[in-house]
């Protein structure tokens, strides 16, 4: 479903700040595969997401979605195939517009926008049905402005807006990192549910190793722009945080330096 071939990208080339963000990355995601990506700050996780979403064009390499080469397709066109949830709960919704209007905009992601009513009676029913799966009571607040919702509610809504149109690729960019533990757990559960139910091909970046182990069917670890560990299937099921830290030390021969990773 998603194929990355020989992706390389260097920032600030030719200056003292030169940084090889991604070095010859190859990654192949099967339909329905759920990959969690971990790695310390600056490992290239976000760059990888941005290359897939079209926010960044790599210096070299191909991005192939569903057999189509999309590496030069602008972000807005590519988002027909890609659904994205951001780390910032405020980033995925329009605050001064209502819940139903936000959902209507998300509903138009996969098709051409026309001069016809965005929120129709029929769509409202559909929106309500989808909202009720969140169990947050949002289905009774269709005409409430999204700005009045809490961070957790907004992130749940963002997740729903991204997934209910079943994107070919789902990108989750540390989407629970800015929430308190209970809200984060709620979003994690919702993510697990929806990915399982719709069989979405998913790439999730996280700093939380436990979350990376609990979720998904495959785990990759990145460091210095490279994929240094790639486990899936039963092997991943058996993996523990200890194993991960140990593995990292073995491969890189040094302490796992990310404070956040240790704290988690």
């Amino acid at each position: 479903m998603l194929k990355l071939k020989n992706i390389s990208i260097t920032f600030n080339e030719g200056t003292p700040d030169e940084k090889k963000a991604l070095a010859d990355i190859n990654l192949d995601l099967e339909q329905g595969e759920f990959v969690t990506v971990i790695g310390s700050n600056g490992a290239g996780k976000s760059t990888l997401m941005n290359v897939v979403s079209g926010n960044l064009i790599p210096d070299l390499g191909d991005v192939i979605i569903d057999g189509k080469q999309v590496v030069h397709m602008p972000e807005y066109k590519r988002s027909r195939f890609i659904g994205r949830v951001f780390q910032d709960p405020m980033a995925g919704t329009a605050p001064s517009m209502t819940i139903e209007e936000n959902l209507a905009m998300a509903f138009s992601r996969t098709k051409k926008r026309r001069l016809r009513s965005g929120v129709t009676k029929k769509r409202k029913e559909m929106f309500k049905e989808h909202l009720s799966t969140l169990n947050l009571g949002l289905e009774d607040r269709l005409t409430a402005k999204v700005g009045f919702l809490s961070g957790g509610e907004r992130q749940a809504l963002s997740l729903l807006m991204t997934t209910f149109t079943e994107p070919n690729i789902l990108l989750l960019d540390e989407h629970t990192a800015a929430l308190d533990p209970s809200r984060a757990a709620l979003i994690t559960n919702l993510t697990d549910d929806v990915v399982r139910k719709s069989g979405l091909t998913t790439l999730m970046v996280t700093h939380n190793m436990q979350q990376a182990l609990d979720l998904g069917t495959r785990l990759i670890m990145m460091d210095k722009g490279q994929i240094i560990l790639d486990v899936s299937g039963e092997e991943k099921q058996k993996l523990t945080i200890e194993d991960l830290l140990h593995e990292f030390q073995r491969i890189r021969g040094k302490q796992f330096e990310s404070d956040r990773a240790v704290l988690n």
Binding site: Y76, F86, A104, M105, S108, T110, L115, R116, G118, M161
Partner: protein
Amino acid sequence: MISMFGAVESGVIYALMALGVYLTFRVLDFPDLTVDGSFVTGASVAAISIMNGIPPIIATLFAAIAGFIAGCVTGLLHTKGKINALLSGILMMTALYSINLRIMGQPTSSLLNEPTVFTQLESVWAKTGIDSFFNGILSFFGAEQLPATWSIVCLMIVVTLVIKLVTDYYLKTEVGLALRAIGDNKKMIRSLSANTDTLTIVGVGLSNGLVALSGGLIAQNGGFADVNMGIGMIVIGLASVIIGEALFSTKTIGRATLAVIGGAIIYRIIVTLALEVEFLDTGDMKLITALIVIVALVTPKMLQVRKEKRRRILKRQQLDRQIRGNQNSA
């Protein structure tokens, strides 16, 4: 009384310009200063078209199209040229000054002996007897001076309301929702496959189309187009939007656009009242406008702070009493 009537009459025409400003400033969050130029573009295109024998209605349409194109150029400068929004508007406004002079070939064009949409309507209107009906009511209430015609105000109310309703509908369509999201959360709507560049260009174009339409109608109403008639127009538009928002509810799109129209009319009334003060003359208008905008911007915030302060004091007293009550009972 008669000057009030004139204020409402021109207020309804300027309301179209204010709707345009609302589209950029509020909906797109794009502070577009093209308005000062595109208003005159509308006026000069309408004037020159009429002087060349084009039917006034078509001439008015040309005015709107010219404004649309001017706005699209501003949008292009901003999105494709990556020029700051304010600066692209200023650049376009400056360029339009020369273009407007070229369109007219002279600084002022008179329409006094030409047909306009209003004079054409009046000739039909006179037969209907609506004027004598309204004037009858007015004189019943003791008005001495009576308006010459009600046709302009009636026509413009209908036209402005129709445009308002079309705008409301447009902003609720799939395209319109995406347009609104640009001013609200650009990153999000791009991740939802909307081409923000094209939407911005069209949005600024539509806004200036309305502004130029208003300019074309003002020229026909006043009987002339002048290359300087657009100076300060953006502040007038902004004043209308802000006054409307301060006085009326803006909960839904429909109410917000209605508030803007109301704001435009009230702005004209305020200016008319101000000019009746003896030591003020027409040259002071711009100062008055700027003051109105400042007052309309500052007052709601001051009121909010005072309200909050009063609420806190009350709450504190209430809590004090409760605590004392608890201590007494304990």
